[in-house]
Amino acid sequence: MAGVGFRKWAQALTKSKGTGISALLSGCRAASGGSKGSLPGSYPTTPEEKAAAAKKYNIRVEDYEPYPDKGEGFGDYPKLPDRSQHERDPWYKWDHPDLRRNWGEPMHWDFDMYIRNRVDTSPSPVDWISMCKQLFGFIGFMLFMFYIGEKFPSYQPVAPKQYPYNNLYLEKGGDPEKQPEEVKNYGI
């Protein structure tokens, strides 16, 4: 009896195409959770499809521009300008202030790249040429100086170490009877 009940439940599960617990229990689709038409679809070809897609994504029809259909997997997702969240007004009352985004606003495909912890496309404080000149000038100068340092090394003057007792004649195994030659390691 329990086995029969389990089999019927499993059949109902596989037949239902719904979402969530309500689908598991009743076998029909839940009304909540977004309808099928609100999810991204395939590349729009006709103007009606374009208008429908623009309405779906809450964008003006003139602003809606899908990614070019090169088979890269974008479908009808809109191509929004590549602007980081850094650039958005910090003083406007966003619905989500840390993300600087309003509820329901279409998200960029690379939204997780453009958050405020990551890539920043805001205008640079100094222009590109000055930045290039400063960076490569510094690196070039340091490389040049290191090269010269390799070619002309400079260090404290060194000489071989001088030992006392006639260059350690006895310690090096010299004959104690024989008189060693006098070694003078200094000059006055």
């Binding site: 479908g75 309003n102 509820w103 329901g104 495909w109 496309t121 205008p123 590109w128």
Partner: protein
């Protein structure tokens, strides 16, 4: 400042953007108003749900759902073209054989 050149992939400061000064037209104003109307509609929906005292559950964001769905399901829209197959080879096939070769020769040495 007349010769300001922005960094590649970065934007120009709003005050140096010539479009703000020269290309103003009623169409642009109308477009901005339409965008503001869309934005206000979304704001209204969000605020009604947010301030609803009988709401017990999370406010679901359909734009977020669509984004997640689009990012995780690219395969129905995938088509093998020259560029995509080249990319696939460069990322999937080439490292396989290259790493095999490198490890094999390194181990022998």
């Amino acid at each position: 400042m007349a010769d300001y050149r922005e960094a590649p992939l970065a934007t120009r400061p709003r005050t140096l953007d010539p479009n703000d000064y020269f290309n103003l037209s009623p169409e642009k104003r109308r477009a901005d108003e339409e965008r503001a109307a869309l934005r206000a509609n979304l704001k209204r929906q969000y605020q009604t749900q947010l301030n609803n005292p009988h709401r017990k559950e999370l406010i679901e964001d359909p734009a977020l759902t669509r984004w997640v769905y689009a990012r995780s399901n690219p395969y129905p829209h995938f088509r093998p073209t020259f560029k995509t197959s080249l990319l696939g080879f460069a990322c999937g096939v080439f490292p396989l054989f290259a790493l095999y070769y490198i490890f094999k020769t390194d181990r022998v040495r």
